[in-house]
Assembly symmetry: C2
Homo-oligomer: 395 residues x 2
């Protein structure tokens, strides 16, 4: 079987990252996902570089396990086809601006009439209601708006963006959670419902301990680079071939750490004897540690310090990560040959069901690749499809 | 009703962040969650500062909507009680090192015998199998191991940690997705199963477009601060009272941006006329923009530039975020008075089901707060409970 969601049909009307990532996860878990794109142009991400044999790597990264069709949702016939697809779908995902789906005749209240079992997931920047509901949001702006950027970066230097689009990906993960909870409820009640997730909610909910600490103390958290606000040494240090992270959480570990580095002379230095001392003299401590740590590679130090019981590891660059034996063992990189990219590979599914595992079945589709197949399933004939193509409802 | 998962019972044997966050989400969605902690000490996070009226804000941030009991899982009686709880649970979440649950007699194969419908979620650092399966992982080390840290930070400066524990939180979100997919499958098949998520998988799966771009080009991505590798001006700029992010994605927006800043003289400067020009001369461009942008506040520039159609917004600090009208409107901050913290507040639930919304019902429990209540539900008498307390099986 294809996974726990085998038999579930997903209509993916979303673009960019959050919605497509959510729909891909549902596909990985066994659902039949139909991705709908605008004729001619398709998902904007198809034009995001770099390209792999002419295909956007950005687009490729979140669209496996989907069948792809094109549909002009601004035409009555395109809307009619979308309604037919929604009528036989279990789940719909969209991330248009609030109000757009209603103008297409595809709003939740409209689709509920023809399919009360439908679970309709709306992904938006700020929510479907409230003072900011019409604001757009891209990941950079939302990392800034939600406070995550204010706490990412070095002390005394500008805020930086977390290097991946974590707000979008979190919103996608939230959409999947909401949809699956609704699906479980539907099994018991027969009732579908509307599910909403926002980029704003994704970022704010992930403030977790920062939010409670702020409410408790009134202190606004600052950027710390890779440091810890209460432990030293802790963070990223340069080595001869890259950075190493270390976490020396106790005085016992401090002694072992110094011994492993051949720095027994500083163990009882009054500037460093206890964790509060080390915190107060972090710059002086780093000035001593850096020349020693740059004398070996990150892997060498990892071996030495791990033997000494100190939590540590290299700051892996992507070439290292994506070839780690454990990553390959866990099938976190998957190969899915495409007709035009025979060696296509991408990050895998991180959600592992041991009884009914998810499956990687199909590479990301070309624009409109499954038009005939999907329209055929709806009962359209070859002549119908030619007519739809001529009137630019589909490609 | 309490949410789509009303009637579902969750046994939360997890500690720290990933597992407790997952269990809290299930509780928010209506499940009855029992959090099990070690007598005397409890979850390690109870000792993570800062404190709110003596209670750890870290602990408080991921444990609402749970009943709390203590249980010494190293004793036969503690294990027996845990087995009784597992026998009547739908979902179990644990994040012990691989092998520990088996030693407690609580491994999946053991519990499946007494409850074949159980969905058992194991959260680990690197997975339950493979060369690194016994390695421990904390968020810093896993941001480093999975490559996220290598792409977060400024160009030419050390890697930094994303300011929140995004690897743990992603693993928690993945656990919820896996558990809910398994729950749906169980409704159809009657069969429970084991679900596994790892911190490694959480980080690697979120490399998405970075991973495909690397596989396509062989180029290892670098740190960019808040810049974009293909668009300028883009990123965080200082203002008179904080940072502002701007994204000037087209030449048309560049003209509007310059007009709004009163910089019409540089619009057609050959160094900046097209996006490739601006990218090639980003430092010179920033040197012109910075003194202008520091002349007004981030909010003032946001108003001016938004009117000009330029995507922008302030880099909000947490005090701003957590009082934003839209955040309050979306119930992304919730108040849950606790007996010892009458004004307790925390980040809310970002997953919004409109038909059967999740609910915030209970503040995070004290250590062992629900011992009598939960053991009573299992049939233990007052005398039994006194005996268990005397033998230090519970508090």
């Amino acid at each position: 079987m294809n996974g726990p969601l085998e038999g579930i049909r997903v209509l993916d009307l979303s673009r960019h990252l959050a919605g497509p990532f959510a729909a891909m996860t549902l596909g990985d878990l066994g659902a039949d996902v139909i991705k709908v794109e605008t004729p001619g142009s398709g998902d904007d991400t198809r034009r995001f570089p770099p390209y792999w044999n002419g295909v956007s790597t950005y687009y490729l990264s979140t669209n496996r396990n989907k069948r792809g069709i094109t549909l002009n949702l601004k035409t009555p016939e395109g809307q009619e086809i979308a309604r037919k697809l929604a009528a036989r779908s279990d789940i719909l995902i969209e991330n248009f601006r609030p109000g757009t789906m209603e103008r297409f005749g595809l709003g939740y209240e409209q689709l509920k009439e023809i399919n009360p079992r439908l679970i309709y997931a709306a992904v938006s920047a700020f929510g479907s209601d409230g003072p900011d509901k019409d604001k757009a949001g891209v990941d950079l702006l939302m990392q800034a708006a939600t406070g995550l950027m204010s706490i990412t970066g070095e002390a005394g230097r500008p805020p930086v963006r977390a290097g991946t689009s974590l707000i979008d990906l979190t919103a996608g993960a939230n959409a999947v959670q909401g949809v699956l909870a609704a699906l479980y409820f539907r099994e018991r009640s027969g009732q579908g419902q509307r599910v909403e997730v926002s980029l704003l909610g994704a970022g704010v909910s992930w403030l977790t301990y920062h939010a409670t600490a702020y409410f408790a103390t009134g202190q606004v958290p600052e950027r710390l680079g890779s440091y810890h606000n209460a432990v030293a040494p802790y963070g990223a240090y340069p080595t001869s071939d890259g950075f190493l992270v270390v976490a020396v959480a106790t005085d016992a570990l401090w002694r072992r750490f110094c011994a492993a580095l051949g720095l027994d002379d500083i163990v009882d230095d009054p500037r460093f004897a206890s964790n509060p001392d080390r915190l107060a003299h972090r710059d002086e401590l780093d000035a001593i540690l850096n020349p020693v740590l740059t004398g070996k590679t990150a892997d060498e130090w990892t071996e030495i310090l791990t033997s000494a019981g100190v939590a540590c590891g290299p700051v892996n660059t992507l070439d290292k990560v994506l070839s780690m034996p454990q990553v390959l063992h866990d099938e976190l990189v998957v190969e899915i040959p495409r007709h035009d990219i025979p060696d296509f590979k991408m990050a895998g599914l991180a959600i592992k069901l041991k009884g009914t595992p998810g499956t990687i079945r199909m590479p990301p589709p070309d624009l409109g690749e499954h038009n005939e197949e999907v329209l055929g399933e709806l009962g359209y004939t070859g002549a119908d499809i030619r007519r739809l193509r001529e009137s630019e409802v589909i490609d």
